[in-house]
Symmetry: C2
Subunit: 232 residues, 2 copies
């Protein structure tokens, strides 16, 4: 059944990972329904990036949902806590950082399920990776596998045997450099993407948050020029 | 650890089940944080009921979140599909009805996790029941157990060993009559509650949707007068 259904919901944040993930879903032949979230993140510039990317890849539809994670708080990305700067990569992964957003991927994937079920899209793509990442627990393979099991128990279409949800994580074992290299191969223009957690008022990247550091390192290791506009 | 933490997030829709569930959480000694959702449901009267109930039980806080399930559609409760009327109870449970909302409990529980983690509340109460219910897959014990496992893999506080999420479903094996009887024992004033999927403009229950039928049957079987205001 899953093979016949060629619609996929792809979570698109507008960063390097989700953009490459979108390119991979397209390359695999899926009709792509892009899903982005306005969740009160301080780096809302990423939504504009997501729109550009979705358009560039000719997605079937791009839905941007408002999700009230800001009303819940508990994160440097949505609340008053400062975004850490200049943290060495080894330290990022030693413990879960303050930019962690409680239950973010669970909330996002749940909404992807809801949309997927109405679209009859059994395939959901999410650009998590467990190598060059920020140490978030909801990016690990064991979490994704468990969510997939839960999804197949939750949905009417699954329980009635017409659909089997598959959560695709094509980047999960890739380094940032590999993700960038693969993205370039698939025609991604990374100048459209946005990674910085703490951009300046005109949207330029800080160059110093975890997300910027991992991005810079990825371009350097891939030997590909970094098209990011950094604040001076 | 779980025993020391006496805060609970209780999902409160303002209906019979969630109100009894709230009363049980209070009776078990939890400090209750009530969580309701404005998800584009046509029976938004339930949010006013939830507010009354939360106040009557002296919850610590009541958060009402806007969730964009209406933007996603796929349900008689949020979309243009008509709410079925006069369906016999046996038929309701024979197949999942059009009032099913895609991934609703997964979305709601995910947001409860997010709030729970910021509050340091490891206990989440949800008034699902698998006997006198509408046949929704995300009310079954196997779904709830799977969600609980996923939650414990998703959250920073769980992965770092400071919290273990427990999803409480005290009503899961109760009939509607038992739920009503238990609610009355615990001091619930059911005249405050709202169950109807399709109330009239002044908020009176239709008496004919699945939710009204199950509610009426419950009061009748419990031998307790039904305080519901039905439309003439």
């Amino acid at each position: 059944m899953a093979g016949e259904n060629r619609k996929a919901v792809v979570l698109v944040s507008g960063g390097v990972d989700s953009t490459t993930c979108l390119a991979i879903a397209k390359r695999e032949g899926f009709e792509v329904f892009a899903l982005s979230f306005n969740y009160g993140q301080r780096h809302r510039a990423e939504i504009e990036a997501a729109k550009k990317v979705a358009k560039a890849f000719g997605v079937k539809e791009h839905l941007v949902l408002d999700v009230p994670l800001g009303a819940i708080g508990g994160s440097a990305l949505t609340g008053g806590i400062e975004v850490p700067k200049d943290v060495p990569v080894e330290q990022m992964q030693a413990r879960i950082p303050v930019t962690y957003v409680p239950a973010r991927n669970t909330v996002f994937l749940s909404l992807a399920l809801a949309w997927g079920e109405t679209l009859n899209a059994a395939d959901i793509f999410i650009g998590v990776n467990a190598l060059d990442y920020s140490g978030y627990p909801d990016c690990r393979p064991e979490y994704i596998e468990s969510f997939e099991k839960t999804a197949n128990l939750a949905l009417k279409e699954c329980v009635e045997g017409r659909m089997r949800i598959r959560i695709h994580t094509p980047l999960i074992k890739m380094t940032k450099a590999q993700i960038i290299t693969r993205g370039v191969e698939l025609g991604v223009d990374f100048s459209m993407t946005h990674s910085c957690y703490d951009p300046d008022p005109v949207g330029r990247a800080c160059g110093r948050c975890d997300s910027c550091i991992l991005r810079k390192k990825g371009f350097a290791e891939a030997g590909i020029p970094d098209p990011t506009q950094y604040a001076p």
